[in-house]
């Protein structure tokens, strides 16, 4: 990749605003996400982190502003179109297909990526390439051997991993991860952090996470939100020293 391409933003939002009635959940947010970097998005509860992620992925309607993916405007596009354009995401509250097996979950994501029009004239089992995609991601997220298990009966940590796997199958250039470690035990969290590192190789990741040690350690850049706006952004060390951030957020913990 040449330098010009590296400087180009892969995801960019301009002056975006999301409001619910009179309440502005996100306001005046502009940001450029560079290729291949891992961004940690932090801020107190209610700061607008998930709403920003919803605005980027198409789940929340913008009352103002524009969103670009690879310099193509995606403002107003529905979530599935953004997924096709290369934007994957996981959710804060686990969103899987609980009554289907782990393999079937992944196979669905694989077929959603492979076909724009879903074939109806052949059994899904006859499409070998879809099954191969699903198997590949199954081992990538460390769930080999769990393919036949119903997704709803997986442990919480494994469900979180499956959720990332579902997002991976769309081969996203940008991956939005909303609290992938939420409710995950300490020992499992280490595995999950490893997985996040692995999936962030070669792609841009925006990660919402409350565990400060993890965020500070793995992020290339930290974005701090407060009351719907970006308060500060920069390298972990800069953020830790920023007096505004200390007062607004980190200060509460020290």
């Amino acid at each position: 990749m040449n330098t010009a391409a590296e400087n180009k933003s892969v995801l960019r939002c301009e002056d975006i605003e999301v409001s619910y009635g009179a309440f502005k959940a996100v306001t005046n947010v502009s940001y450029e996400f560079k290729p291949g970097l891992l961004y940690g998005l932090i801020g107190p509860n209610g700061a607008g982190k998930t709403t920003l992620m919803n605005a980027l992925s198409g789940r929340a309607q913008l009352s103002n502003g524009r969103v670009f993916l690879n310099e193509q405007e995606i403002t107003g596009q529905p979530p599935h179109a953004r997924t096709w354009a290369g934007l994957g995401r996981s959710f804060q509250i686990t969103q899987i297909f609980p009554e289907m097996t782990v393999f079937e979950n992944l196979r669905l994501a694989a077929q959603a990526h492979r076909f724009r029009l879903q074939p109806f004239w052949r059994p899904v089992s006859k499409f070998k390439d879809i099954a191969r995609d699903a198997e590949r991601v199954l081992s990538e997220i460390g769930l080999e051997g769990f393919g036949h298990v119903s997704a709803g009966s997986l442990s919480h940590g494994d469900q979180r991993a499956l959720e990332i796997g579902l997002a991976l199958l769309s081969e996203p250039k940008v991956l939005l991860l909303d609290e992938p470690l939420a409710g995950v035990g300490h020992d499992v969290a280490e595995k999950a952090v490893e997985l996040i590192r692995k999936v962030s190789e070669g792609r841009t990741v925006l990660l919402i996470e409350h565990n400060m040690d993890v965020v500070m350690e793995i992020s290339d850049e930290i974005i701090v939100m407060l009351a719907g706006e970006i308060l500060a952004s920069g390298a972990a060390e800069t953020i830790k020293r920023d007096p505004r951030v200390r007062t607004a957020y980190l200060g509460e913990e020290e």
Binding site: S57, R59, P78, P79, H80, A81, T83, W84, G88, R89, F91, Q95, I96, F97, P98, E99, M100, E104, R107, L108, A109, Q111, A112, H113, F115, R116, Q118, P119, F120, W121, R122, P123, V124, S125, F127, I130, L166, A167, L169, S170
Partner: protein, 315 residues
């Protein structure tokens, strides 16, 4: 043997009654079961597979019946192309409905499909009287004229209907296990996730609604030819209600369940209506009791019983 095969066997026995007892006593009833089953199989693609409760399928059913009747009787079309047209018109109307109704979900979807189908019902009885014969309907709907076989004989018509029924069942079975069917199940299971992995949810819902409309249109045309008559009652919301009851009674989301539901419904209708004029009310009562006793329908009960008798076997 598993529960699925057991159900297939039960269905096979029901529909082959005219072969086992060729005295012609039951063939009329089985013919009706075959036709309503095509309707129910198609309806369950929307209701059981995709999880959308439509209360408007009477519109596609009735419009299919009128299409076949008008094309054969007024335009002089042959039966088979007219039946194809009945399916296409049913599907096209379903597609139109879906553009309005899929914007909303759940109860609102059910109410909107109900309102749209009642609109068609009222129009058929009033504004389109010249075409539809108003409340009198159209009598004298023909049956197919193929290979010199006398299809006006119910026992012969049975084979024609059986062929279409098997075809309808095979296509539905294939759709269920195809990528399209799997995608629809995913939408039913978790719409947010389905959309986020890249499924165009509304387009998929429109597709299955249209396919289901084709099923309804074909079966409506067939019923008109079975009873030699089409009237606005076929468009009435009670027809939509009947197919919902049939599918719920038999077991939504299963391939054979809806057929079992149709069979029970039709047998009860046949038998109860000879006993009392209040048969519809009694049928409703039986339906209420059975949904409490068997929330997953007859199919669900068979699967449960089978797993109890044969523990360890796959459902």
């Amino acid at each position: 043997m598993n529960a699925q095969r057991l159900m297939a066997l039960v269905v096979a026995i029901i529909i082959s009654v005219p072969l086992m007892f060729p005295d012609g006593q039951n063939v009329g009833l089985v013919n009706a079961i075959l036709i309503w089953s095509i309707f129910a199989i198609g309806f369950d693609l929307v209701f059981g597979v995709a999880g959308m409760l439509s209360f408007g399928h009477a519109a596609f059913f009735g419009v299919g019946a009128y299409t076949l009747s008008l094309l054969t009787m007024r335009m002089g079309w042959d039966f088979i192309p007219a039946l194809g047209a009945a399916g296409l018109v049913g599907g096209a109307l379903a597609l139109v409905f879906s553009y309005f109704a899929i914007r909303v979900s759940g109860l609102f979807f059910a109410l909107l499909t109900l309102a749209l189908s009642q609109l068609i019902y009222i129009m058929a009885g009033t504004k389109l009287r010249m075409l539809t014969g108003g409340v009198d309907g159209i009598a004298g709907v023909p049956r197919p004229d193929l290979f010199g076989i006398d299809f006006y004989n119910d026992s012969n018509y049975y084979f024609f209907l059986l062929t279409l029924f098997v075809l309808a069942l095979l296509i539905s079975g294939l759709i269920r296990i195809s990528p399209l069917g799997q995608a629809l199940k995913a939408i039913k299971s978790n719409e947010v996730r389905a959309e986020q992995i890249g499924f165009n949810v509304q387009r998929l819902q429109r597709s299955v609604f249209t396919i289901s409309g084709i099923y309804a249109g074909v079966s409506g045309g067939l019923l008109a030819s079975l009873i030699f008559y089409v009237g606005p009652q076929m468009l009435h919301w009670k027809t939509s209600g009947d197919v919902v009851i049939m599918v719920l009674l038999g077991g939504m989301g299963t391939l054979f369940g809806p057929i079992l539901g149709v069979a029970i419904f039709e047998i009860m209708r046949e038998w109860l209506s000879t006993q009392t004029s209040h048969w519809y009310g009694i049928l409703g009562l039986i339906f209420i009791i059975s949904t409490i006793a068997m929330p997953k329908g007859i199919a669900g009960m068979i699967i449960q019983l089978w797993n109890r008798i044969m523990p360890g076997s796959k459902p």
